[in-house]
């Protein structure tokens, strides 16, 4: 299969539906900048799209990306994984460039966010109330869907949230 050669197209309904499916995944790869060196770095993160609110991760202060996102809020997410069959580059994936905003522990929205997160990530109940864990909102700046069918689509950031 050929990699995409067409220019990036605006999203149609099928592309938006595929993006929505990928946004339901509970984890993502995060591209961020190292807190001290500002070199590009990468981590796997827990991920959740909270309907009517936005995109979130939940991180330990001990994770290197926690310090990285606080020092350098610009980041990017990759959602979707190839599985074991076929050419990995033909499987759908969504790339989101975002800006990280840490939700402080006493933020008024935290209780509702905590409940919504636990509905999606029930195993997080073991550590969700630990003092060194924080929610981080990932405010999308732009998004690109590679549909796995030799075509790339630009997704409006607003379409990731509704």
């Amino acid at each position: 299969m050929m990699p995409p050669r067409d220019p990036v197209a605006p999203a149609d309904d099928d592309a938006r539906a595929l993006a929505r499916d990928l946004l339901a995944l509970p984890h993502a790869a995060l591209s961020y900048l190292d807190a001290e060196t500002a070199a590009p770095a990468i981590s796997r993160i827990a991920f959740g799209r909270i309907a009517g609110d936005g995109l979130y991760t939940f991180v330990s202060a001990l994770a290197p990306h926690s310090a990285g996102l606080r020092a350098h809020p610009a980041c990017a997410l990759l959602l979707g994984e190839p599985g074991s069959k076929g050419d990995p580059l033909t499987h759908p994936r969504l790339m989101i460039r975002a800006r990280a905003v840490v939700v402080e522990p006493d933020a008024p929205q935290r209780p509702a966010l905590r409940d919504a997160w636990l509905r999606q990530h029930p195993k997080a109940k073991l550590y969700i109330d630990f003092a060194d864990f924080s929610f981080v909102k990932l405010v999308p700046v732009s998004a690109l869907l590679n549909g796995g069918f030799a075509r790339a689509y630009r997704i409006d950031p607003d379409d990731l949230l509704t």
Copy 2:
């Protein structure tokens, strides 16, 4: 399951063996800097460890990470994917910080590299000789293995290559 709380440990034989397994994967997530804005960005890439040589990807000049790596060689790789069961953050993954070096089409090592790549990525024969595709060597600077068993290990970059 708890995220890792212990400090990062030096690799032992089990950790090195697990890292070697992850290095056999045919794809990775790449954290790189946008060619124009230097913002963190992310892509899925084809990946291959060529024994006795090094770590490589093979990219189209049309891919945004191709321009990114040429403009800003510092990058990072994530190998390993969670699969569908259990807590995604407990699955093993290897994070490698690296420096990208583009292999020019007339480089003397290209024919041997091409043959080794095709043995690992047979489907690449459809486009391996296209003029706008290049090999990029990913020279490891440091590596961290998260074993999925609540422990992180520092892997010597030399142990990724031998």
